[in-house]
Symmetry: D2
Subunit: 418 residues, 4 copies
Amino acid sequence: MNNDNNRDDLNNLAISEKAKPLLEAVIKHVRENVDPILEEYDRLGEGRADRFSYVPGQLELIEGAKAKAKAAGLWNFFLPNAETGEGLSNLDYAYIAFELGKNPLASQTLNCSAPDTGNMEVLERVGTPEQKEKWLKPLLAGEIRSCFAMTEPDVASSDARNIGTTAVLEGDEWVINGDKYYISGAGDPRCKIMICMVKTSPDAEAFRQQSQILVPMDTPGVQILGPMNVFGHDDAPHGHMHIKLDNVRVPKENILWGEGRGFEISQVRLGPGRIHHCMRSIGAAEKALDLTLERGISREAFGKRIIDLGKNMETVSRARIEIEAMRLMVLKAAKAMDVLGNKEARIWVSMAKAMVPEKCCKIIDEAIQIHGATGVSQWSPLTEMYMKQRTLRLADGPDEVHHNVVARAEVKRVENLG
Amino acid sequence: MNNDNNRDDLNNLAISEKAKPLLEAVIKHVRENVDPILEEYDRLGEGRADRFSYVPGQLELIEGAKAKAKAAGLWNFFLPNAETGEGLSNLDYAYIAFELGKNPLASQTLNCSAPDTGNMEVLERVGTPEQKEKWLKPLLAGEIRSCFAMTEPDVASSDARNIGTTAVLEGDEWVINGDKYYISGAGDPRCKIMICMVKTSPDAEAFRQQSQILVPMDTPGVQILGPMNVFGHDDAPHGHMHIKLDNVRVPKENILWGEGRGFEISQVRLGPGRIHHCMRSIGAAEKALDLTLERGISREAFGKRIIDLGKNMETVSRARIEIEAMRLMVLKAAKAMDVLGNKEARIWVSMAKAMVPEKCCKIIDEAIQIHGATGVSQWSPLTEMYMKQRTLRLADGPDEVHHNVVARAEVKRVENLG
Amino acid sequence: MNNDNNRDDLNNLAISEKAKPLLEAVIKHVRENVDPILEEYDRLGEGRADRFSYVPGQLELIEGAKAKAKAAGLWNFFLPNAETGEGLSNLDYAYIAFELGKNPLASQTLNCSAPDTGNMEVLERVGTPEQKEKWLKPLLAGEIRSCFAMTEPDVASSDARNIGTTAVLEGDEWVINGDKYYISGAGDPRCKIMICMVKTSPDAEAFRQQSQILVPMDTPGVQILGPMNVFGHDDAPHGHMHIKLDNVRVPKENILWGEGRGFEISQVRLGPGRIHHCMRSIGAAEKALDLTLERGISREAFGKRIIDLGKNMETVSRARIEIEAMRLMVLKAAKAMDVLGNKEARIWVSMAKAMVPEKCCKIIDEAIQIHGATGVSQWSPLTEMYMKQRTLRLADGPDEVHHNVVARAEVKRVENLG
Amino acid sequence: MNNDNNRDDLNNLAISEKAKPLLEAVIKHVRENVDPILEEYDRLGEGRADRFSYVPGQLELIEGAKAKAKAAGLWNFFLPNAETGEGLSNLDYAYIAFELGKNPLASQTLNCSAPDTGNMEVLERVGTPEQKEKWLKPLLAGEIRSCFAMTEPDVASSDARNIGTTAVLEGDEWVINGDKYYISGAGDPRCKIMICMVKTSPDAEAFRQQSQILVPMDTPGVQILGPMNVFGHDDAPHGHMHIKLDNVRVPKENILWGEGRGFEISQVRLGPGRIHHCMRSIGAAEKALDLTLERGISREAFGKRIIDLGKNMETVSRARIEIEAMRLMVLKAAKAMDVLGNKEARIWVSMAKAMVPEKCCKIIDEAIQIHGATGVSQWSPLTEMYMKQRTLRLADGPDEVHHNVVARAEVKRVENLG
């Protein structure tokens, strides 16, 4: 990537004129339509008897905010160069997603939340017209939701070759068997379709053995065993589900892009998914720093404002510096995706993914520390923010895998010089 | 402390001959009587409708293990030099508490769990014969439990002068009003007595304004508003409760050690409490490292055992080194308490308290990373362990307060040389 | 600075069309005219009997390369918006300075080396026509060199109010007395002029007491006591000199911009000086990473390439990520100077200055480690590079001062929200 | 090592009664006989024309202090269980070496300086009576000095199998050819004997190919090519020399312990050598912390003592905590050597060696930062201290090798449980 650094088309990181008013509109939307409902939404959720349902009123809150955003044209920004004409460049979207990261409900109200975004992108890029009509259309309209089933409990899924779930063609049907876990969003009653990574071709070369298949959630044999927790939380009703696929049968044409292209599709999907997470993480880090400052300014101990004690000011400065550095790295990765395409840009994406969640964890952790006991309590959003960022260090490729991508590119660069 | 370092009576950190068989017996007890009940205890707890109760069978499990320990003489080890003849030296207890830290139920089975240990120590050291008869005796017998109410939501409680809860003498009674939170153990139905830190003497000098008063939990006006969460968990049925004291009236003689001695009593209490936490943290870190190794050895990715990938071996080595260093520092602090007394040893205790939970968080966090998604799930004890250690960095004085104690002693040392 | 982040004029970090061919020309110049002379230049310097002189041939090498650069129009790029029409924008200069940072002689050949750049900028911005004619002109022509005397041995010079050197007006002359150290470049025989920070107005308010005065090096009373070392090196013949000013008399009109404006002038000077250092640091970090990779690829131990051992690949990735993040932060600070002016941009400059040298030290240190004993030897440039970056963490404001600038801006931002 | 932790014979880290008065005497000796000569010794050294000689008076200073120590019986403490009856236990010696680490000349005055200590230990353990008479006796008497030639410039010497220097038996003589560098002490005119690691048996199994041979420095063919620098310093007249062995012929009986036992001898030597370095490092860290405190207390900026600014107090606390932890780890490793023997104790030694120099570098670096520009100057010993500790992270096995030793032991421990 060293060689790219003087390319001027990669270094203009400014938002476009077209996107500026959209950014302003999103900021206003979040302030007026999302921030005010968050507390009630959470409160309602606490009374939930069936964990994976919505209590009366809760879904209305979120769908109401969605309707407002959709009406205002604040919708599906995540999808660049779509046939349907929707979406912004990755760079422009980054500015918007930074804002969305400050409120955990905001992305959903713009139909820009994971894992739907990745699923829609995959369908848009490699789906057949029939697949698009049946699944992409309602997803783009925000009428249904979806999930993506890759991770498996029994193997190190960071190595795609380890995938153990099998799909065997019997007549006109794929018969799928296996065990998937941490299937995010599969708990939501609105979730209707799963994209499932399977092994179809065990005798092919290592990265041509996998395929991705569309599995409607109501297909017989799709058993949700229960939620996987994250730091003890089930994240209901979204949920990170443990799913057993037991002789699940779907039509032959439910395969995406053809047999043996599962790994390739992952490459299509993972770049955007990863960078979207990182964009939102910047918003979370901004919020944590604001909370640090507000607490530090308003409380006193030992005769001083807490912010003026010990290392706290330096902690603030270091957080601010790292946030700005992360923001620029995410913008650069987004720009690289726009200019170079997702494949060529993947090292920039890995750099962002290896950098951002780890540093955000640190910034949020420091915010917790300055809050004292309240920082770990339900009176503060900080632990929820921490758990999300901490989990991101494992999801969509653990840090180690991304560092390896970056380092191998460096080694190759210098080998080529030699 | 520099000057203490050549003192030979501080540097013999070996367990005593007397304690050796006890240590062996404790290891055996945990293995045979506690490890086997943990899973069932937790499983029963999940079905709890009323969060702050015990479901049928649950209390029997823990009381059964207690009875076995008590019968075997494995009881109240935490209390050195007790009138009642119980207890080991702090140094000997450290070896035992390292083991107790590996299982979250183990301490309780030996009647060695917080916050009872601190409360018993305070009662033993400064209680009147009547106070001891009424409260210390059943606590030592393991018949009731207790809590300690210091932290308040509205002020930085790390500065004791900020205490806002008031106690005013009206006739023969103290009338107490205020708001306390994070009162650990107050949710347990067996909790019968609270030691409450209050401000009795607002016109006295800064550290003579506080007193500690015994408040039976069933006193009218003691309102448990609800549990404070830690990373979203209520830690039921133990609980970290939010308590309102609303015109709570207790007899004049419920004051401990006399008016204005509250801060002094804290000094009695806090040293042992802090070092006990650190002892158990060592056990937790050991367990996390074992889990790291077991996972790293048994899983493969990219054609290698996970332990052999990237920096994992160095992570293991650094964890081992830090664990050994922490163990020695905790042993030294315990020895200093035995030899110098709690007051003189307080800098050693602050060193351990500032060092241990922070490093344990890091070791557990690395264990999580090597476990992948399973590391943050309910299939692993790691996040629960992490949350406990993370909270310890705030409880009993946040890290910053302990670093300040250590640094001020250093400044003083060099000023005295000058 | 949070509020600036969506400003599109701050986020276009691309090099201008005009500067692109200059950047190419500089890269070619360094490769063809500077890289080839470095080894001989250093070798000649080793034989130096009088440490602060040039041996025959040495000065010719550097002046020869200077002449080539000047003839090619690669000259004085550092000075934006100069009356004389020279100089590039800070942003364009950054791209060039990244390259200059890879060879320790390169900057000087373009007349872009410290401390002359800062002195020229000050003279250009606040000098009188006479001052410019006498000193700026030969400096811009590369005929003489200069130094800047601020730091004093007896006080913490990071606080400008501590300045102890006095200047008293006697008739038409300033009489200067004091002790300055770490006066970089004062050892070079070509150094003819010093800008000296003095206290002229002890009764004025704190930041109006200081002035800056032009002191020709040959003025009686200017005594160079000897070189200050950096990690034991005298950096001859450039030198970081210890200078005594003993009743030094200069004409009244040698004052810059007027009495009491010394602190103000520092603000003019320090922004560019700091960011120029950071630009070159990026080049140094790039070079260190290249050396790491070359060593790691070419050596073997325990049956593997060193780069493939343990954490080395992750170290490479982290270095690459931090370099890219630093590069973007430096570009952003440079752009902010271009768009907002040096004063408004000072927080961006402080962010870069607090971030870059510290991280570069780490990257170079890791390069040393991978080189084994050779890494600390004269066979590698790494320790020299390390010492320069380490010293930068103290020069032009220690890290702590810059973190404080950043943090105070953050506190103010949030206070204004409240 | 986990299993060793409850062994009481490993955990008594107190100095023995016998050694206490010796420790007191050493402290007094350093204060009265070594501290006062350091400045003059260094000043004389600056005037050295021939770098690897002593100027008049310089050697007298150090030999004078040696004579006083020897007369007082403060001599050869480093050698436990010597036939000659000299030496203390490793544990007792640690307490003394902590003190020696505070003054760079102190160890030599007690005949306890590297690399002589390691060479004497090897001769004592595996030398023949003739070898002992000829070389050990004058070394123990402090009449001559010695060096140890292992590291080679062309290979990664951390892997002993890489040794390229060959020794071939021709008749009654070994003929040695090769290239060695960083041969510490070989510049000292008093250095008379080298122990040289060579490859004698290229066809044996990997760790039986090496031998160690005694090579008198005046043997024809021993060519000192020049000094290797450390951060640009030649460390004259001690020196870390680059040596070419060009058909060097020594008698057959100069081999130590027999052909193919070179690696084995390294094991004898390296444990003590490494732990001695670590002991002295503790003294250096203590001194750095004292300098930090003295500077921080005596200087002011922004209206406060520097020590009271920002994070400085926490930096002090963290340094103190790490110093105490390192001290205990070094004591434990020393005790393990006493109780378990050097071979069994090697994991404890690796833990100390991987831990101590790295942490000492950090503590000294922080001391530099608080000193400002003076910290990197010749007016402070800090950079010299830094360079020594930094080099230790590479010498006697780089950190990475020691971490690997520790981690492999951990893996083995858990594999054995499984």
